[in-house]
Symmetry: C2
Subunit: 492 residues, 2 copies
Amino acid sequence: MSFKDATVQEADQALKEAQVAFLSYKNFSGKKKAEFLRAIADEIEALGQELVATAMKETNLPEARIINERGRTTGHCRMFADLVEEGSWLEARVDTGNPNRAPAPKPDLRKMLVPLGPVVVFGAANFPLAYSTAGGDTASALAAGCPVIVKAHPAHAGTSELVAKAIAKAMDKTGMPKGVFQHIHGANFEVGQALVKNSFTKAVGFTGSLAGGKALFDLANQRPEPIPVFAEMSSINPVILLPETLTRNAEKTASTLAGSITLGVGQFCTNPGLILAIEGAGLDQFIKALSSEIEKVVPASMLHQGIADNYSKRLKNALAQKGVKVEGSSTVEGTSAQGRPLVASVSSKEFISNPALAEEVFGPFSLIIRCADLKELNSVISHTHGQLTASIIADESELVNHKSLLNSIIEKAGRLVINGVPTGVEVVAAQNHGGPYPATTDSRFTAVGTDAIKRFVRPVAFQNFPDALLPDELKNSNPLKIWRLFDGEFKK
Amino acid sequence: MSFKDATVQEADQALKEAQVAFLSYKNFSGKKKAEFLRAIADEIEALGQELVATAMKETNLPEARIINERGRTTGHCRMFADLVEEGSWLEARVDTGNPNRAPAPKPDLRKMLVPLGPVVVFGAANFPLAYSTAGGDTASALAAGCPVIVKAHPAHAGTSELVAKAIAKAMDKTGMPKGVFQHIHGANFEVGQALVKNSFTKAVGFTGSLAGGKALFDLANQRPEPIPVFAEMSSINPVILLPETLTRNAEKTASTLAGSITLGVGQFCTNPGLILAIEGAGLDQFIKALSSEIEKVVPASMLHQGIADNYSKRLKNALAQKGVKVEGSSTVEGTSAQGRPLVASVSSKEFISNPALAEEVFGPFSLIIRCADLKELNSVISHTHGQLTASIIADESELVNHKSLLNSIIEKAGRLVINGVPTGVEVVAAQNHGGPYPATTDSRFTAVGTDAIKRFVRPVAFQNFPDALLPDELKNSNPLKIWRLFDGEFKK
């Protein structure tokens, strides 16, 4: 399938329409927005096998994965529908006034979150459904009350087109204003630039490479009116193996990690790209077992040729660094479109002295850092960049003696995992998919879970408003029955 | 008083110490941080008349204002103490796991906010106490668990030094680690630059000019690891006068506004610098009354000579713009160190076509925009930048017919005021002191009120943690009895 790139003029026109839509959509009730989000989920399901087949063809991902991802996509649409229908997410606060206070009367102040305005979303290569057209950025922005313009990822433009049509149907069925959701194709950088630079654009969501995300971040900050960019970019997700537990469970740990490293041909932002352990018999045994697991995994096609080429290039570069030793790789070489699973190792000293080794190699690769001791391991942690996740594989009894490790890895990551792998991102309120730079451009927000909506809203205070002119969320009688901080007390 | 500027090396050393302090301070309980914050308030009060006299001397502000500001400062220290001692501000969320879920087990996920790391605060010229050394930025960052380095404002370095000493005493008395709070002098830009560029710095708070805030924002975004800057910069706080109410209350409105325009020699970020009204007899009467009020106000010394010079220069520039007519000014000319109150008017057509008229003139000045009709008034609003506040003076009956005005001004401001003036910023949970650029660099946060703490924290998720290793806030038994979203339900 091929789609015509939008022109810069078309991109600007889309923002004009989005702004017109915003001025009415922003006032829609949570109930009405919920209907829309649920209709999107229904219409995506109604696309049936055509969507699955198109996504499979465009991304080389297997059917089960696409079906699973579709479930996650409709799932988060319905999750945000529930959230905004219930309404307490708005952080309503009321401080009633006192006209008789001396020396000055105390004003009546009420505050809640309101939408920022039109949001531009760049679809992700590695999630054709869950982080693209109706992905988490789109669903959370629409839930917040922001119109969305999606720039389709050119690698799965057909999938994106189908989902966009489903959203258009949902708009029709639920009476949404024209311009609430728009879909634009554009393989070139100019269209993306125009979307970010347009003065009506008030925020940007992006999932992709560090270079791409940083370029959008810089562009947004150089505007006459800088706007927030939430870019989820680069993470190598360190996994720390503590020695006692490792000695007991070398094989089991190797098998679990091999599965996580090669899951989806390693094309997850939470892929464990760095394994930290202390030298010893346990580590030797683990490396042997992991290598043997990796050797058995057959290479599979990556999302598109560009990603495969990039993997091949970055892998070659990593392996060319001083002291890096290949420990095991798939016995099948595979085609140039495929990602060949591989694990290598290097000493902590080499890792610390060579920043190139801390860079992401997007694909089924992991680098094991052989640390001389716990001090060296700590030093490796301090030399890693910000991450989406950091994991420790250890039993509770061993962990208790390594609390200081928890104290240091928390500074590096947005999610800490005990006795598990970082892949698999549960979509719940307690999820945090974010982290210090370069994992994202703003560690104060999450891209997954209900709190992802907070990226696209800002607080507004209403001072001395007549009750009738207040939004329902802030009226005295609390007609929506939402949780509010009312004169210092949390209540409904 | 004169103080030695810190060197770049001293600034970097301060950040090293702050980072060491951070690694222990971040784990201090809310109760312990509350003790520290309350001790700061006590020690500031213990400075007694020396602090008042020093601040008066350095800023030309009258005694009553300094005493009031001291009350606000100790007030917000105690407010944040209460907030962190209670603990629910941390947005704790718990989603319990299900190991038997198919096809994959559901992990146990728990999330809360954690401090970002060392924060650099630039003291404000116009609030020697409430937005300087122990100001809202410092108090909220310390409450969040972040060490703070304050760069004293050179215009009130002696006041800053006294407050810093009070904080040092509070540190001693409550057993705080060295480096939790540090105070640096520096009249030159290099020291500020070094503080922002240091890799241990994780956030910046600033209150001041657009040029100053934007320079720090750009610097922070150009770091290898960009960091958030919350800069509160420029706002002209439009006040809209609706015609029917104005006709009824021209004199009263003029008197109220004259008080707000000249309060503190106009040196508030919430000063009403723009008054919008529709041409007619009501407006003429209002302008006449306002001019006569302004003529009666005697010029007073501004904060320092630089601010007075800046006011004089910007005022001259505003009055030189096409179509601008002086309506009234203080009959006393005053010295070059004083700010002479002045109001002028211009047609909406001229305002819309001349961006220079939308720029802030920091001081006792306000520009009245004579609008031909409501459409022109709306057009003026759309030509203003982002603001801290927007106000409408009108009775409820007239307001009801102008709901669309509310719908448009909310896009421009962080706080909407009905029948009141923007000056006077109540320190409560429902306050929002922020707004779209250039009012601040991030409209998603407030600088005043309990939510100001949110600028300096980020969420972290804990996956499959043994209960004993979780922070108390997330343990099953909820030992701190805080409000949490537990499996979708808000409860203690």
